[in-house]
Symmetry: C2
């Protein structure tokens, strides 16, 4: 909510194949983009959790920076209704040079964006103003095809192989019925990346972010300040740990620390979360994570 030396405001950038997705855009996000020196062409979509300044005042800079790279596709902006007002009034008042189309999608619970093999889903959080979390969810991918199994079964190459690869069932000339499961491995889980901030703790968060490969979650206060956190509609890092544990997530990335903690004191937040979820990481500005395919 407030910057410190070496701590910009909130933002998470996800790169997936050719897409970049930005979750929140606090002041300084375009500076971090520059520092990362990404070879980027475009941000496909921006997802804003809620209309507090520390989550959106970097957006005008991102919109302008996006005019410096070639793009023909529109930029999708997903967020609360007031976000449209914010973007439109910023464009009007600041005469922002924007050379591409912006398409606004009002956020509501459910799928808010989709692409080839994935959706981005929004879910409601509990904060001092309307607020949503987001999860990028990949579809299950088909299992691996084993050509050696198809050959051993005497299935001729060509059309029949294709039908089996697409999950079909085929009948051979000798009358045998071959099901795709006889030549394909099991369907493989897709990946899931979840983003949760700002919110008071409540149990169903774990349902929304169930089975995340990476869970970015606020852990603003230490466990001893649970009452303060609840009053301000924020979470302790211990509660973030509970969400990570109960959602069976793989890694918890803590974010959105209170400025009351110096960099050194952030260890307190890490310790509290690790009490219930050992695979906890204290994120820092411009830290990067790879999320490999599960096989």
């Amino acid at each position: 909510m407030m910057p410190l030396p070496g701590r910009f405001l909130t933002s998470v950038l996800v790169r997936r194949d050719g897409d970049l997705f930005l979750f929140d855009s606090g002041e300084g996000t375009q500076v971090s983009m520059k520092m990362l020196n990404l070879k980027w062409k475009k941000i496909s979509a921006v997802f804003i959790s809620h209309m507090h300044a520390d989550h959106v005042t970097g957006l005008p800079g991102i919109l302008m920076l996006s005019s410096q790279v070639d793009r023909t596709e529109p930029l999708y902006i997903v967020g609360p209704q007031k976000l449209r007002d914010y973007v439109e009034s910023s464009r009007r008042i600041l005469d922002m040079y924007i050379n591409y189309e912006i398409r606004f999608i009002p956020v509501e619970t459910g799928v808010v964006f989709s692409g080839d093999g994935f959706t981005i889903q929004a879910f409601p959080l509990i904060h001092t103003k309307p607020c949503y979390g987001y999860a990028l969810v990949e579809e299950r991918r088909k299992g691996e095809f084993f050509p050696e199994k198809a050959e051993a079964l005497g299935i001729p190459r060509g059309k029949l192989w294709g039908m089996l690869q697409n999950g079909g069932t085929v009948e051979l000339e000798d009358g045998r019925i071959i099901d795709s499961s006889m030549v394909m491995g099991e369907a493989r889980d897709g990946r899931k990346i979840s983003y949760v901030t700002d919110t008071a703790y409540f149990e169903s968060i774990a349902d929304y972010v169930h089975d995340s490969d990476i869970l970015f979650c606020e852990g603003m206060f230490e466990k001893a300040l649970a009452a303060t956190a609840r009053e301000k509609r924020h979470m302790t890092s211990y509660e973030a740990g509970l969400v990570a544990r109960d959602s069976c997530s793989r890694i918890l990335c803590l974010q959105h620390y209170s400025p009351r903690y110096s960099d050194k004191e952030l260890k307190i937040l890490e310790r509290d979360a690790k009490e219930v979820f050992p695979d906890t990481v204290l994120t820092k500005d411009r830290m990067t994570f790879a999320v490999p395919l599960k096989d």
Copy 2:
């Protein structure tokens, strides 16, 4: 106009006695404020040159940061009429927590702010939208009082000394008339700090910033790109050098570089300015300057 790693957007902060004055507030200004670790209590006034995003999108953060320090005085915001709209719509849309009074002063040529012993003056620049430069101008201070001269002249301590210190004339018991100039040094010039960006070059800038102790001036392009600069309503560093020379300023602080120049290539801008004005400094983020009293 665009950040680079290690180059935030435009802003100059002036501390004078108990006051802090901020000239422009590009994205990241509050981060630099934190990095500087100033023991600050309040910003007295903010002066915005023009309503382009790279000069104002850091303002909401500064306004919020200012709610974290004790203040009872209002914060004055000076700038184009649209600035009021920007601040008001930001407050409305972002529910910004601001616990002090904001007083908006529309900028026009002349004195826009004044305090004990100084004024801040605005002057028109030539850009793609209405734009103003600013100069902080101290009043001339009275000359130094020399008690040894007063004693040598046999002037009794007390009321007569006070009258002479205030520039008056006194008659002694023996009939002699003593003028304050007989016991005081010459009036001393105040200091002047000028801030010029964004603008095409024109000769009268030198009049507005005449006799500056420090002239912060844009020098966006190299001399060879003078036509580009003029077309975009910006200045070359060579032209900034001309302004510094013709205004008889003491130091030229170049700022607002084009992102086309890497940190190393900025030397080109420095070289061009030094051709006409040797006392040129390439400013960097969070560089600080002291402006001592002239005596």
